[in-house]
Each structure stands twice: as C-alpha cells, then as structure tokens.
Symmetry: C2
Subunit: 516 residues, 2 copies
C-alpha cells in the first residue's frame, strides 16, 4: 500500500473495508457501503484514496473501485474535484439517528418505485459532469459562456421589468406567456408546420417537455421505442415511469427502418421518441426519405411520435430538412424544442407543440408540476427574440462552433489512435467517438478526469448498458487551445487503453448496441 | 326561448343539442359534447348562450348546464370572460382529421392513467379562476400587485446580471444556487430547525416541491393522509399518482388527533401531508400541543410527515409557533416553503428541506423534471433577500393584509346572511366561509361570476366532493373599495341561494366533510 503521507484518514478508511466475495452484494457495492459507513457525516469532508491505490490495497480490479466511487458520486455522498481527488461531501447535519420508537429501517423501503428504478440517476450523472467548472470540458452540452447574449438579454430583462413590472412578477397562464407562445408558433410555421400559439406549451427547458409528454402518454410497463443510443434525459424519464425502453439500432442516417418496423410490430409501443436532426449523442441526421419512412411506419402502427428538435438552429452546414411535425401536419407528432442549446441554458425555457387532445393533458401535468414557468423569464426572452438581434447572435455562435468543430476534428486527426472512429457533425455542439471493442470508456473517463479532461461516457446514452467503447466530445465550450491540449491528452489515454486490452482483442469497432 | 337578438350562432347551437335521458352518458356531458361538436374549431370563437337560457331551452336544471360549461372550461374548449359570457376558444389549427390509415380512435385511450384520474384537473380550475384579471377577485391566493417589491427586485436582477453575467445564464446545480440554499437554511435555523444548505433543494414554487416529494414517496394505491379540506395542488398531485387520499376532518385547531390515529391505523399511509400554520383553505392553525400530538402519532405509525409551511411569514397576529420540522429535528418531517405567497409569485421559487436519504431521491426527480430552476432568478432572489430590504417589505405587506382582512370581516358582518360562518384568520391571504347545508357554492360561483365577482369554490379543496356549501375568499388582492362592493354582491347572492333552498332545509352549517 502506497497511501500518500498525510492521509491518515484515507489510510484508516482502507483498513476498515472488508470484502466478502461470497456475499450477494456486489463487491463494488460492498466497498461503497463501507466507505460510506466510515466517512459519512464527518464534518471535515475527508478525501478518498485514489482508485488505483485502493484497488491495490484491496486486491481488486481498479474498475471495481471506480464503480464504487461512481456509486457514491451518484448517491451524492462524495464529490470529485478534477485533478484533486474525491472527497466526502461535507455535512454538519445531525447524524441520522432514528426517533424514539422508530427503527433505523423507517426510511428504507419507503420510496416510490419511480426513484428506485435503475437508470433514473443517469441524467444526474451526465449533468454533474457537464456542469463541472473544472478542467477542460468536452462533457458540457451547451453554448460557450462567451457566446451567451448576456448584454442584449440584460437589456430585455430591464425593459420588461420597467414596462410591465408587477405583471411579469405575478402568476401567469399555465401554458405560458402568450406573446412567447405566438413567437414560437410563428417560428414553427416558418419551417412549414401548421402550428398555432394555442397548441404550444412553454416548459422549463425541453427536459420538462420530454418528461411531461412521456408522463401523459406512458403507463408502467408500456413500451416506448427510441434510437439506441439516445438522449440520457429521455432514458431516465422512461426509467422513472417504469416504461419498457426498446432501443433500435441506427445506421448513418439514424434509426433503422427495418428494425423499427420489427420493434413496432413486436412491442406495440405507445410512443416513438426520435431526434431526427443532429441526434444526441451520435450527431446523425435523418434524410428526407428516412424521415418519411419513419413517419409512415409510426402512423401505420398507430404510434405517436415525439420529435425532439433541440438542435435545429445549430446547423453548421447543409440545408434545413422538414421536421416530422411539419410533414405530418401535427397529427401524430409532438414537437419539442428549447432555447437552452442555442441561446441561454440558464433560462430553462423550452416548449412542446401538440394537438388539442394531447395539449390539454400536458397542461394538467404542467399545472401540477409547477403552475407554469416564470413569466419574467418568458417575457424577457420574448423581448430579446423580437428586439435583441437573435439572428445575428446565432450567426456568430454558429461561426464559432464551426471553427471549434473543425479544430477538434483536426486535433483528433493528429492525436487520436488510428482505431478511433468519430463523426463529422453538420450541426449541434459535439461529436461522437467509437473505440475498438473491449476499450472501456468508463475507465477512460476516470483516467481523463485525473488528467483534468472531462467527456461524456457512452454507456449513459445506451438503453441496456451498451456502448462501453463509445464517448461524446463537446466542442462548443472549450477554447481552441483547450481543444488541442485536451484532445492530445485524450488521444494518449485512448492509445494506452487500446494497447492495454488483451492481445487477443480485435480492433473491430462496434457501437455496442444490442441487436433487437 | 328568449335568446338575445343578434346571437344567431347561439340559437343554432341550442337547436343542435339533443338530450337522451336514458343514455349512459350523464346529461351534462351530453350537452358539453354536443356543444363542442358544433362549436369547436370555428375561427370566430362563438359565444355560448347564458346558462339560464340554455337550461330553459333544453328543459333541464340550470346546474346541469353549469356543469356542462365547467367541463368545457376544464377541457380548455371554452373560456369564461367575467361579465361578458362564455366563448369557444379561438382555433385556426386544422380540424382533427385522422391521418390516412388511422382511425379517429388513434388518440383516445392512449393517455396514461396519470392524466385521466378524476381530480387531477382541479388545480387547473382553481388556478384559472385565481389568475383571471377580470372583475373583483376574491379567488386569487397571492400578494396584491401593488405590494410586489418590483423596483427592489429589478435592482437585484440588474446587479447579478452585471456582476455575474454568463454565470447566471448557464446551467446551474440541480439542487439550486448555493447562496440561496444557504439563505434558506439559515432562515430555517432561525425558527429552531437543524437545517443545512445541503439538505435544501430549490424548486419551481412549492407546487413542484409537493409534487416531487409525493412522487418520490408514493406508489399507485398507497394511502396518503391529509386534512379535509386541503390544498388543491396537493390533492391533484395525489390524483395523478393514483394514491388513495384519506381525508381527516378538522376541528378549530386543525386535523383531529382521534380521527388521525384511526386513519393511521386503518390505512397505514406512506405520508401525512399537513399545513399546521394558516391551513389552506380553512386558515386554522395548530397550537403547539396539537403539533406535538400530530407528530407523535405520525412517528408512532412510522409515517413520514410533509409539512407545507407556505404562510409562515404572513402572520398578522400572535406569535410564531415551532414548525413540525424543527420539533422533530428533521428526522421524519419534510419541510416545504415558498417565496410566491410572501414575495413574488412570478419567480416560481420554493424549496423542500429533507434529510439525506430522501434528499437524494428528490434530486433525481428534480433532475429529470427540469434539470434545475433558473439560476438567474435564484441569484436575483438571493441578492434581493440579502440587500433588498425584505423585512421592511414584509412588514408593509402584512400591514396592508391586516387592513384588508379587517375590511373584509367588517363587510361580511354588514352584508353576509346571518347563517354564514366565516373564519377570522391570524395570518395568510384569505378566509373561509361555510353556508347552510344545501346551499351549492358551485352555483353561487356562477351567479357571482355573472356579477363580476370571483371566489374559490369549496368543493375543489375537498377529498371526496364534499364542502358543497363552502367557499374561500381572498382579501389580499382586491382594493378596500372592491372588498366592500364585492362582499355586498356576494351577501345578496348568498341570501338568495339560502332562501331558494326547499322550505324543509334546516339552517345547519356543516363542513361537508365525510366521516372517516
């Protein structure tokens, strides 16, 4: 054991861990639970030993320790600080002593199935990494700070507060601020949709739109079909609802129609959730013909389509394609969009467009979830959209993203191992990487974090724990210099991981997606 | 038939309605469906005939027509304009023609049970009336517009945008903006609670806090005990979750301990939801002894307590009582609060304080519902709380509410029929009225709306459709003159309703709450 000098706590921690390989509890969980029992509640927020050292000390595989730490991170008990290590979260609250007459078992078992479902925590994992302010981040999925229209938005806030004062600080309509709903409907009509303001509901980001749509249409046990991989936020919501998530593999143009047809026949899903444009995380875009095929299949099988169109305004090349929503006339497609990715994530404003029968149900859920999104934010956003020069802002942002995308692609050409495959996206904020089978990007993620580089692990986007050899790299947030040095580091770590595989492993690159 | 001249559309509507009293569908629903079939989708937004006239024309009880209109309002198909009448909602979207190959039955039946449960729409009903800007409103439950700290809040927004710019327009931590969580925890400690910032989660108003707490702890079929009547928002969330809502009658000090004990024994509920201070809608406050009894009962039955403390800072008389959360040391009590009622409804900021095991689950749901509340709003609020003179603002607001409460009480003494019973609240924004049994406040609500006066119907706060003879009157929003004239009108209408009851009806006043 080579614990650092000056880490008596860490040393004590290690000594206190006893592993029982015969137990029902997985080893990683035994480690996590015992670390928690020792370290929890201490005022000092003690440091955990580095994973490599603890693995050596306990005589287990390092990935097991990584899994244990990851479990503790997800449980909120420890926090990782890039480049510094992992620490217990400070807590000065009284220890969880049971009340008189109540056993320690009062809470456990008392949670709803919704929050106990595996996978519900994945979005939180992705989000925590994405919003970390440390190191070089290729994990974020939002606009670069210097590309936020801060000043123009400030002017808009100022104007609505001055002119509308108390009105925008009062309760507003559940479905949203009327002028903003109008603006969104008008914008949708520009892309050929038959949208009207009274069919548009404003939500707290597209995440709430996804969540409310799924909740209105999916009962426990219902099947929902989606691309595999897909957006973690959609996957986590479906977990919480106890839905059967049916992942359909993709080809270069998105979801495979042959396999989609089979999934629709076999599983009779309530919903098909797709991202036809700049699919997150693979960046693939359905051509017009593919869109038509997917739509026809869904309609034939009486399956409602949820179209998540988060990236529409972030096209860097090529021309806009019609949305499924426009192609279908809004009859079987619900359309979701957001201002977070193109403008201001902190506003938390997105929307869903739906025909009346569905809209009324969505409204019921919006009402019970939060009585409507802040009027002040909606009014300020609308003002900015009308007066603030959003088009020239977007043009500037796209220019910057194009530059950064190209910089990242160039860096990958220079530094990535020859076995790595990566997408060259025509839009959006990130690209998608596949490494040879057998390379574990969860482990790579730990390596990289210790070197101050963050990315998004591919497993978190997959339906059934596939995609172990994949990762997502955001180019929108890091500076050009950071892109160069971060990709250089990643390339080096990827190469190490590739050569560390057993000699027998082939260099084949799969997406790790299960065959239906 | 005495339809107004110049209402050819209305006349045509009436002629098209055919009632089949032998059908399975209730008459009110037959009327609603047929009106919808005739009037839906028209570009003009036609006007519905007055309820009295349609009732006469169809030869049905007026309450049946009222129910039909109410159903259409709740379905979003028509909209009431106080003093002007009821109109179809304008819609220029294409009529709901099914796609080729898809029957008209594609959508119905495709919704989740969550949104089809009876009662889920009640919050939307209450909210729509409460946020109507027409007539004299005793239906709102929020601060008066002139009592919002608009200017001071504007200064705070300005400051955080200037100083923190991009930071507060980016994604933030799921649990909330750290300084605001600190402020809330510090404030809770002032009331004797052992709260820490890392146990406080910021939500979009207390509505989201309630919704997330219930969702984390309640599975379909689980029993939840609450006061009857109770807050509509809590009732509607429980409907959506398919929970068994067990309403326990109250006495002058709140929930009755003898009946609570019985409910806990019989139903073994997962949660007890209570508002110990200025209970909404009855305004009753539990004394310290009652609080202790309720808490002990819950702990003895291993039942988690959800304490909704929305009105704490709106005390107009008397001294603060300890919260259940403080009394219990936060072990079995989750504590919910909000800035909407005391400061700025439009911000949509509330919170929940919970011990770690629960907190982690709440966080999972907050993440999947919206990835966290807008940082800009949280930062501006925190700035205002620290620098903006919140204490003197609250003192001014309380003074104004005291004046309005007393004005409303005086007006009731002058104008209310002698059989009316009403509360004299020590805090909050409204008072609670009970009329003699047999008086239907749903019908009174229609009468009053036609005279330009709005209030909240008692049935919407009751677990099982009880409380038909009750109503809630908000004093915080109307001006003193509006209070005088609105209560005069209401008094007159109440008297009419009372004398219109059958001669046989006694003047007994009950709360209409079911015996357990």
């Amino acid at each position: 054991m080579r614990l650092k000098k000056g880490s008596p706590k860490a040393s004590k921690l290690v000594q206190s861990v006893r592993i029982d390989v015969g137990a029902d509890t997985p080893v990683y969980r035994q480690i996590a639970d015992q670390l928690l029992a020792t370290g929890d509640g201490r005022a000092g927020g003690g440091r955990l030993p580095p994973t490599r050292r603890l693995a050596e000390a306990l005589g287990v595989n390092r990935n097991t320790v990584v899994a244990a730490y990851q479990h503790l991170v997800e449980a909120g008990a420890v926090r990782s600080h890039t480049g510094r290590g992992t620490f217990f979260v400070q807590s000065e609250r009284p220890a969880a002593t049971p009340a008189p007459g109540v056993g320690g078992g009062a809470w456990p078992g008392a949670f709803a199935r919704a929050v106990e479902s595996p996978g519900i925590g994945n979005l939180l994992s992705v989000y925590r990494t994405a919003t970390s302010r440390e190191g070089i981040s290729f994990a974020a999925s939002y606009p670069a700070a210097e590309l936020l229209p801060v000043e123009a938005f400030g002017v808009a806030v100022d104007a609505v507060l001055r002119e509308r004062g108390a009105d925008v600080l009062a309760y507003g309509p559940t479905a949203g601020y009327a002028p903003l709903r109008d603006w969104i409907a008008t914008d949708l009509r520009k892309s050929g949709a038959a949208a009207e303001a009274d069919g548009v509901m404003v939500t707290n980001g597209s995440q709430q739109a996804i969540e409310i749509v799924f909740r209105a249409l999916v009962d426990p046990g219902d099947a929902v079909v989606l691309e595999d991989p897909s957006y973690t936020g959609a996957l986590s919501v479906l977990s919480s609802l106890g839905a059967r998530r049916i992942g359909v593999p993709m080809d270069e143009e998105g979801i495979r129609p042959d396999l989609l047809a089979r999934a629709l026949e076999q599983h009779r899903p309530r919903l098909l959730y797709v991202q036809p444009t700049f699919h997150n995380p693979t960046t693939r875009t359905m051509g017009e013909r593919r869109r038509k095929e997917v739509l026809e299949l869904a309609v034939r099988h009486r399956c409602t389509v949820v179209e998540d169109d988060w990236g529409r305004d972030l096209r860097l090349e090529g021309v806009d394609l019609p949305t499924l929503y426009a192609m279908d006339g809004g009859r079987h497609v619900l359309h979701i969009g957001t201002f977070s990715k193109k403008l201001l994530p902190g506003l938390r404003i997105g929307w869903v467009a739906a025909r009346r029968e569905v809209f009324e149900r969505l409204l019921l859920l919006k009402q019970i979830e939060d009585c409507g999104t802040s009027l002040l934010l909606q009014a300020a956003l609308e003002r900015y959209l009308v007066d603030g020069g959003v088009e020239s802002h977007l043009a500037r942002a796209r220019e910057a993203y194009r530059t950064r995308r190209d910089r990242m692609l160039a860096a990958l050409r220079r530094h990535a191992p020859r076995q790595a495959r990566y997408s060259r996206p025509w839009g959006g904020l990130f690209l998608w990487v596949s490494l040879p089978d057998g390379v574990d990007t969860d482990a790579l993620w730990i390596d990289a974090r210790e070197r101050g580089v963050l990315f998004s692990r591919g497993t978190l986007f997959h339906v059934d724990g596939g995609g172990k050899n994949t990762l997502r790299l955001t180019y929108s947030v890091a500076s050009p210099d950071q892109i160069d040095s971060g990709i250089a580091t990643l390339g080096e770590l990827m190469r190490k991981r590739i050569s560390a595989r057993g000699r027998s492993a082939p260099d084949a690159v799969s997406e790790g997606i299960p065959i239906l």
